[in-house]
């Protein structure tokens, strides 16, 4: 498969038998790869995994380079026309900012035509004919895209004030949903964490202590879980509502205007302001929602085995509510509790894990992933996070961005290539500082794994108390107060 011997990496083709078929590492497709079972995925040799990953990556690049505009520009800029080794792709990974590189003012000015043109540069799908004339915000723009194209985008929560938009399509979304189911399959002699929940073959109880619907990755995941192994009737959410991308981005937009001093010039559509007010009212009515949620869970699920997920701050907030009600060991010991997502700057005490587990009644399995990645990493019984072979890791030197060797233990910026998405370029550089080790783990999984300590570079910069006359005020509180006053003027 490697035509140029001078390229440095020469891997012989490797053939393995899977499900009675011979799979050849030289000709494998992403669909073939995706059918591998946990024992095959986690036990494949480094050489086999590297070969398959390189084959798929190289093919993917050839396939997308002419079709994804932003990739074509980047590859031209970097002078790269072929990928002959995994590290060849390092200069072609998109910075995490790429998926939010649209000017925020396009939304303010209602220029959804330009926003569509921006997104067009990130997907293989042709968006030039999409009619966005009726769009008034992110939600209606996503509606238009989904009605007229195969796109099924997801968006970030906009903690930084601006939504990232990941242009997945229907096939990517299906892979995303299926991958979540498959990564629950047991490896080796480890217990099947889903066995007790699935026993009885009825739709399983799914518990998620936040909003039911939306295009954020958690809601996309919930949709898949409900459709593929649960049911609406056995789904327990704190808020049975839609997480609006417009509301999620509003805080960031107002904050930006506040920092620029243009707050009073900002026009927010009354409809959106109404949505925002509803979300504020919901927060103030949170006690009622929580009560209803608890009542339903207590009535139906005490001692039952359930599938529970949510990021740590979310599960911790729920635990505090449960503790206040004197509840513990809420679910059956055969429940599956999945969490991750970092602590997102929230104040969670050091004993969060013990307390969440005591409240929920089953052990948590932590994972590490992000909206932009389908197959992330999950915790093994030895406490490290194993990265799915569907994802090619890169550990980049924090200063130079150059890839560090794929051997031993390396600390740096995490970047990846997501092999499971095919309609957009899966190469992505995160803002996370990680430590990755290549070499086997005592749990038996081969391949690289993460140390559990994962930090954000943006939170690590500067000294203890660096003070400079140069800078800007954080206008977050001012922005929120302004928004609340505008919403209350709505009448």
């Amino acid at each position: 498969m490697v035509e140029d011997p001078s390229a440095g990496l020469q891997l012989p083709s490797v053939k393995v038998e899977m499900d009675g078929r011979m799979i050849d590492s030289d000709t494998i497709t992403a669909d073939d790869f995706f059918t591998l079972k946990p024992n095959e995925l986690w036990l494949m040799s480094d050489q086999y995994r590297d070969t398959v990953q390189l084959t798929l990556l190289s093919d993917r690049f050839d396939n997308l380079n002419g079709r994804v505009g932003q990739l074509a520009k980047l590859s031209k800029l970097q002078g790269i026309s072929r990928i002959r080794s995994l590290d060849d792709a390092a200069p072609l990974l998109f910075q995490h900012t790429v998926y939010k590189s649209y000017p925020m003012s396009l939304v303010e000015k209602g220029r959804f035509d330009l926003l569509t043109r921006w997104l067009d540069g990130l997907t293989v799908h042709d968006l030039s004919g999409v009619d966005v004339s009726g769009c008034s915000g992110f939600d209606s723009w996503f509606d238009a895209l989904e009605a007229q194209t195969p796109l099924r985008p997801n968006h970030s929560t906009g903690t930084s004030g601006k939504l990232s938009i990941i242009p997945r399509d229907t096939k990517d979304l299906e892979r995303f949903e299926l991958n979540h189911l498959r990564q629950m399959d047991p490896f080796g002699s480890e217990p099947d964490r889903m066995a007790a929940i699935r026993a009885g073959n009825a739709p399983i109880p799914i518990v998620y202590p936040s909003s039911r619907h939306g295009r954020h990755v958690a809601q996309r995941m919930l949709d898949g879980l409900v459709r593929r192994m649960g049911s609406e009737a056995t789904t327990y959410v704190l808020y049975d509502d839609f997480l609006s991308a417009d509301v999620a981005s509003l805080a960031g937009r107002v904050r930006g205007a506040s920092m620029k001093g243009t707050l009073e010039d900002m026009k927010i559509a009354p409809g959106l302001l109404g949505l925002y007010r509803a979300s504020l009212e919901r927060q103030s009515a949170q006690a009622n929602d929580q009560e209803r949620f608890f009542e339903r869970v207590l009535a139906d699920l005490v001692g039952e085995n359930a599938f529970v997920f949510g990021n740590v701050p979310l599960l911790y907030a729920w635990t505090e509510m449960g503790e206040a009600r004197g509840l513990k060991s809420l679910f059956g010991a055969g429940s599956s509790i999945t969490s991750g997502g970092g602590l997102k700057g929230s104040e969670v005490p050091a004993d969060w894990r013990v307390r969440i587990e005591a409240f929920l009644g089953a052990p948590i399995r932590l994972g590490y992933g992000m909206s932009e990645l389908i197959a992330g990493a999950a915790e093994c019984p030895h406490g490290v996070y194993h990265l799915s072979p569907f994802t090619i890791p890169f550990i980049l030197d924090p200063a130079t961005g150059a890839p560090l060797p794929r051997s031993g233990t390396q600390t740096g910026r995490f970047a990846f290539f997501d092999l499971l998405v095919e309609s957009y370029w899966g190469g992505f550089v995160t803002g996370d500082k990680v430590t990755m080790t290549w070499g086997g783990c005592e749990c038996g999984r081969k391949g690289p794994y993460f140390d559990p300590l994962i930090e954000r570079f943006s939170e690590l910069e500067g000294g203890d108390d660096k003070i400079s006359c140069s800078g800007s005020n954080d206008a977050h509180e001012e922005a929120m107060a302004w928004l609340a006053s505008k919403a209350s003027e709505l009448g």
Binding site: L77, T97, P103, K260, G261, G401, V429, D464, C469, S472
Partner: protein
């Protein structure tokens, strides 16, 4: 990893016990400093303790400061040399420029400069005695300015801040506790140690203290920031540091904030009138962007240029201006500006994000990211990350007219460089009303000096207590 000891200096006493470790720059420089909490009892003074400062004439204070200044020679003063060495690791300003700062700034501690400073900033008579102001027949108002017990939370991005703070404290006869910044804990310390060596019992020495504690340390701040201990707090920079302090505000404590600022340029359409104009403006803008490696609040970051973003011909000229600004930044002599000392990964990631978004932005940069970059917006909006434009990175933004540019200025922008010169007089009132605090010709923003108001305030006058004594027949 380098570890440096920063002593605690309380009123002429140098303390180096109860050391705790702190971080000066993540992963690169650590320092150890005494835990101030263990020495808290020595920190506050009663009001009457300030009387000894009034046993001195202003001339005696000036003479002492001049004596200190003469000893602040980088080649012979080991404390100042250590401060320079540490700053060269923690500051974003390049070593040769820092060295020039450490050599030149002590010159403000000379009799001539101090006398001028006193006269221009306060008025010597008010510091020397009661100034008589007859109001009406039989009514005389006498006014005198008195020093206060103060804490100065100072910035560490330039050593000039430590020099200025000590000068202000001495001439106003204040009792001053300097809260040291982690990015420059040694410059103020070096000046105070030099004072101690000259005369540890001199009233000026006895009313200056310097301590590092981590901003927000409640053990220290809740007992220090009490009206019985402190009358004034002068807080530089850092949103977080000011937020900590506001918790302790109550009647009796006067907070003087020198907020973190950014600065901008406003450039008229004349800049695009000819190739020669483009070259001239590019050079001037580059000086405002690049001086002191863009580490100061006065440095330009967003450059507004009057230009029709719908006119391809004008936009082509604007893009050329952006390209020429980058070239001019590269041409700045190393005594003014150098390539970045450290990459800023957050900024680099943002730049990569827009690098290929030609619909919205043109990016001018070289293969070496440390050189700097110029982003030319192709429509009338600055980039959303304009608050992290560092390492000689600027955003050129077309605006339809000067009035539009003015609307974008607020109190968050300290210095506004204006081109052409004739425009400056036309818009200075409007700029001031918008909130700008320092209006100057393009290319001159960092030539601010110590004379004049700072951030819209007469800081020295605010540091003083203005007392009236009346005679009424």
């Amino acid at each position: 990893m380098t570890t440096i000891d920063v002593p605690l200096i309380i009123r002429g006493q140098i303390i180096d016990s109860d050391m705790k470790s702190f971080n000066a720059r993540a992963g690169a420089v650590d320092f150890r400093a005494p835990d101030l909490f263990a020495h808290m009892a020595k920190i506050p003074v009663q009001a009457h303790a300030l009387r000894d400062l009034y046993s001195l004439t202003l001339d005696e204070i000036i003479d002492f400061m001049a004596m200190v200044g003469a000893r602040l020679d980088l080649d012979t003063n080991e404390h100042l040399a250590a401060a320079f060495e540490m700053s060269s690791h923690t500051s974003g300003i390049a070593r040769p420029i820092l060295e020039a700062l450490y050599r030149n700034t002590p010159k403000v501690f000379t009799r001539e400069v101090i006398c001028n400073f006193i006269e221009r900033q306060i008025g010597r008579d008010y510091l020397e005695g009661w100034v008589r102001k007859p109001l009406a027949p039989g009514q005389v108002l006498n006014v005198r300015a008195f020093g206060a017990r103060s804490v100065h939370v100072i910035a560490g991005n330039s050593p000039g801040v430590a020099f200025l703070t000590i000068l202000r404290s001495a001439v106003t006869r204040s009792d001053t506790i300097i809260k040291l910044p982690s990015n420059d804990p040694l410059t103020a310390t070096a000046i105070l140690r030099t004072m101690v060596e000259i005369d540890a019992t001199h009233p000026v020495t006895r009313h200056l203290s310097a301590a590092y504690w981590k901003g927000g340390d409640e053990r220290i701040e809740s007992s220090l920031y009490q009206p019985r201990n402190i009358e004034k707090i002068v807080a530089w920079g850092g949103f977080a540091s000011i937020t900590h302090i506001t918790k302790y505000l109550q009647p009796g404590i006067d907070l003087i904030t020198l907020d973190p600022k950014h600065s901008a340029s406003i450039i008229g359409s004349q800049a695009l009138a000819s190739d020669a104009a483009i070259e001239e403006v590019a050079h001037l803008a580059a000086v405002d962007i690049g001086s002191f490696n863009q580490e100061l609040c006065a440095n330009a970051r967003v450059i507004y240029v009057v230009c029709d973003d719908q006119d391809p011909e004008q936009m082509e000229k604007l893009n050329r201006l952006g390209e020429r600004i980058l070239a001019a930044i590269q041409a700045l002599p190393p005594t003014i500006s150098t390539p970045a000392k450290e990459p800023n990964p957050e900024l680099q990631a943002e730049i990569e994000g827009i690098a290929t978004q030609e619909d919205f932005y043109r990016l001018y940069r070289t293969a070496d990211d440390s050189v700097g970059a110029v982003i030319v917006s192709q429509f009338d909006e600055a980039v959303e990350f304009s608050d992290i434009l560092y390492n000689r990175t600027a955003n050129v933004v077309p605006v339809p007219d000067i009035e539009d540019a003015l609307r974008r200025i607020s109190a968050a922008q300290q210095s506004i460089g204006v081109y052409p010169d004739t425009l400056k007089r036309e818009i200075r009132d409007a700029l001031a009303i918008q909130g700008a605090q320092h209006i100057v010709s393009l290319g001159k923003v960092t030539q601010m000096g110590f004379i004049g108001p700072q951030d819209g305030l007469e800081v020295e006058r605010r540091m003083l207590k203005w007392v009236r004594e009346m005679s009424i027949d």
